[in-house]
Amino acid sequence: MTETFAISILLLPLSLMVVLSLAWWFSRPLGEKWTTRLVVWSFALSAALALGVLTQGRSFLTQPGAWFSVGHYTSTWDFCIDPLSLIFAALTGILLFVIAVFSRDYLHRESGFFRFYLLLTLFGFGVLMVVLAGNLEQVFLGWELVGLTSALLIAFFAHRPGPTANGFRAFLTYRLCDIGLLSAVVWLHHTTGTTDFHVIENDGFVHYGISTAGSATVIGLLLLVACLGKSALFPVGGWLPRAMEGPTPSSAVFYGALSVHLGPYLLLRARPIFEDSTIASAAVVIIGLLTAFHGSLVGRVQPDIKGALAYGSMTQVGLIVAEIGLGLEWLAVLHIVGHACIRTFEILRAPSVLHEYHHLELSLGSVLPRMGQHYEQLLPAKLRHRLYLHALNEGPVEPVPFYLLGLWRKMCLGFDRWERKLEDLFGSSNPQSQSPLEVIK
């Protein structure tokens, strides 16, 4: 029974997604009223189910059936039900429920109303899939859905060039870092023959059957690469402030609450791997702290409220990642929950900032005190200027994803040339043929 309930957490948004898509496919999109009703209730139920199962206090892995098979290998649907995944599932359900209610008024009469709710449902399904997944392939599935919906919602106002460019940028960064997740899946299969999580009775955390510290380091680092993109970690996080192009509620739930915390969640899931590898743990801590410093420094100079909040998110996610690297799992969980609530609320009321300032001024009875006296007092004038410019330029890291993509492209071109040379060597040269990669140059 518990198992059915647990799986229903995920099935609710999935079935709703199917209903909504079919309605749209047959050019019969539901009206605003019914769309919101369905989405609101499905996430409310998901959250309630997650909380209900959580009270049972059990940890188990359930396999409702086979997913796909390749040759003699069969992958099953695995769902990992333990306090960690249920807390995250409940948080996801509650926040999406709130956002769905909020958007009912916020997006009222907007031409993309239905599209927004469809993407929100798909996103919810993706997050819950990552959260409840019992193996890495399923994580990958959910991970991609989250990435896709994220890019599509950034580019929600597709008639303007800014949103599409920034949506594309987020998508590229995700794809680049997905290499890490995909490679981790392959490597795990290579070394252990499976990517399933294993549950130890009554212990919330899962184990992989990895024997050597070397493999653990490789897989740990690959998973970290996967998190870089999704959680906007240093040095590829430049997409995060640029993602503030969509409607405010989607910015709030993606970049304040859920999407950015999926990286830490994956690291939490993979804790045992990091316990086996000091190098990987150290890398996590270093990346986390670098992100926090970078986010905090760049965030300080942002003159727009959404930019400042985005960098605030980046800072806190960096700290959370560092906490995980240091082995402070439950602190990290508390931090994630707290940060998700605070940031969602802050982004939702970002348009109120003028009101708030005025109110604050009235309360304090004076002009708001100037902040940011720290660096000004600590640093010599020359350095102060440089640091400020550094922050305004977003550090040297703003174009990093483009450099990496450039490198990737060059590498592919190199392989391609090398291959063609080899072909020539074996005498099958065709001077007319042009490499497909050359064409897109």
Binding site: F157, P247, Y388, P396
Partner: protein, 942 residues
Amino acid sequence: MTIAAKRLANEQVPDFDSLIEHVGHLLPSQAPIRRFVHHNTLHAFEHLHFEEAVVEAAKLFDTEPFPTEAFFKKQWEDGRITVEDLDSVLPQDDEQLSTGDWTRREFRLFRLQQFLPVAAPAKVKYEITEGGCLEKIHPAVSEEARKSLLDCGEEAHTLKALWEGLSKELSPQRIPQDDSKKKLVAQTVHPLMIRFCGVYLDQGIAYWPILREGGFYRTFLSLFSQSAGPVLPWMKGLKERLQCQIAERWNAEKALEQALRQLGYRTEQWEQACLDRALALRGWAGMIHQLEHRPDLAPIAAPPCRLIDYLAVYFQLEAHLDTRYPQANRKNFPRHEKNLSLLHEAFLLAQFAGLGPNSFGKPQDYKDFLDEVVNFHEIERRRYLFLAFEHHYVVSVLDSLQGHHEQGEYRRSKAPRFQSVFCIDDREESLRRHLEELSPEMETFGYAGFYNVPMAYQSLDDVHSRPLCPVAIQPRHLVREVATDEDTAGKRAGRMKGLGLVSQTARAQRTGMIGGFFMNSLVGFLAGIPLVGKTLFPGLARELTHTLEHTLVGRVPTRLAIERNPEEPPNEDGYFEGFTVDEMTDIVAGAMKTMGAVELAPLFIVVGHGSSSLNNPHEAAYNCGAASGGLGGPNARAFSAMANHPEVRKGLAQRGYHIPEQTWFVGGYHNTCDDTMDYYDVDLIPEHLVKEFEDAKALLHRACVLDAHERCRRFENVPTSCSPEQAYQHVLARAENLAQTRPEYGHCTNSLCIVGRRDRSRGVFLDRRAFLVSYNPELDENGEILAGLLQSVGPVGAGINLEYLFSAVDRAGYGSGTKLPHNVTGLIGVMDGYSSDLRTGLTSQMIEIHEPMRLLNIVEAEPERILKILEEKEGLRALVERGWILLAAQSPKNGDFWVYRNGKFEAHRARNAWIETVDTSIAHYKGRRDHLPCAQVRAGLR
């Protein structure tokens, strides 16, 4: 140095001042967003006639001049534009056309009625090859036209001949190409400019403010000449360039000149070049220009701003880009192609008009026909459709009013029990109407919401003062709100400060690392409570917060420090603190005479208005325009205090204006968003009027409830079946709902301004579309009062109306687009998303139900008197003559209507002088969401 460069260097330096002035004049003149005041978006084009100005502006700003044909098609189908309207606005042109049996005017009249589905060029190719448009006559073609086409021969053959005939005579057109350099600049220079403008103008969002050294240009130099690690490829070498400028002590003028020369502009091209660049990010450039001339508008303190600095930085960056990528300068040569859309249009039109190949005798006929089609192009058609749409509205309103007049239904309460004056604002029209419907003993007036008190005001808690009078007036008097009991006020301020410090600390940790860590990990989850509460139960959350605030902070009784000694000198800011008795007497006498209040009731309530809503950066746009976008309550309070002042009453009596001794003035404040009313200095009301006041208060509350109900019919997410009480509860919660993007519709749908006695419009349902200005022609012997009124009301009404008009005509070009991705920056404005130009104008959510049309001013005065005023007052004449407002007159003597056209008044010829009669306003609007015609409300005429 090349010869060309030498020649350039020897040229005379032009006068940058006049160049900057000209460029600045064309930039949006929107103030920082909390000081938003409605103004004519195209103020820079007021020297032209409206119809010409919109077309010129559209060319310059790349915007729409008129609403789209799709909009007019809808109006046509709804009967809001008729053939008669089109016929009235089309000018005479009796030239016979070579094709078809009609004159040019007849052709155009026919054309305007055809909303042809003309395809885009790419789609035309599809229509020809796959869509079968050469095989079948268009299905929407009338039976008659079809018959005459088929007379020419077999269907496909006829169409083919027609197509080919037209196609042969169509000459290719120049098609402009994308400017690749502009694109490159937009990708490189613009993001940097936006960032830099953002931090430079920031008034307190960034935790770490920029170190401003000198002006905009100097700060840019000192900042970007630093080395701070790797930079974007295009910025390489910029540092050295700027260091060189620092070493040679350049100023903005020099930097601008150098860049212009480097980019190869000749002196006479400079102005155009500067204008292009300023308009590229016109929101930011406009803000710099605004703060240069009105630094007092900045929310905290304006940094030194000069438009020339902005241009210098922009041009320096562009010149640098030019050095880095000289190949981007490559010119694109325009292509020449046949305009397939035009061909398609002519082809369809010929079909709809039933003109087959037989009607075209010779090739020249095809050519002539094409010329006719081209000459009556889309912009022209939209112009006439716009005029016809307006005309229809004007005729229908005047017809209704004439119908009302002919029934002789003018009422004035003989001895009113209560009197109240409201702002002329269109949103108060419904409140006044409901009030009069509720009680025949209530008389209402309309007067500009600053109530003739030209003051700067500072409330008990305010840190700065702000002007509460029309923008055109520079206030010289400051009025403060002071606590009657200093002790309790001090304690209260202490408690407020405590609360303020808590939220200030929380705010400071928004981007902080260490503080942020503690806040998020330890208490972060607590944010879930307001998050869920405010989203799910906005109404309940509102009550809780208010109760909590009331308990924690409390209120203290206050008074306005209104009176000053005539000898007292101005304070250090140059303000006189208060008014002298003489000044107050002038103020009260001026307002009372203008609004024509002669016989005063015992209780006179003066109501100011404002609006409060959450999550709404454009909040100031909903406030009182006559109070410079501030809350108008204090003006009503100040006016009442003045009128109650015994010395002032004495002074008034000396001037022949008697306020009866038992009459008492009470100031009030109407919140147009949640429809609540507050009253000031209630404890001072004399004993004998306390009961009367309670009755009046109950009456006003009931009127507010009904007002809320009428407003709710426009909100699609409120069922039309809701009761007035439900509607009232809804608007209370709506104002506090974080998710609400349209807390109220503001001046949306405004279209009318009636200057005259209220008894002439009393009992007429005007659908919250009319500004109502009280004016009694009988008390105005020589027209002086009217001249003053029109001079202030005309431009204010035009400003509001035209801002709504343009924002509705082009939501993205003149308006600021949808609110959903808006991002408040620097406390001065909003951007779209992460980085964009500063958005000016109104949001789509504010204007979505607005009907773009110019304001029709109906003035109760003889046409001769109005013409005389126009002759004398040049500013007003310009507005009227150049068609920025429409003008009509109603004769006070016989009630005839006159319409102003081309410099003179013509008698209004009614099409159908009739007005629908209903019992109450509710009966008229119940269950309906669309724009409603005028109606006579019996309840208001008791």
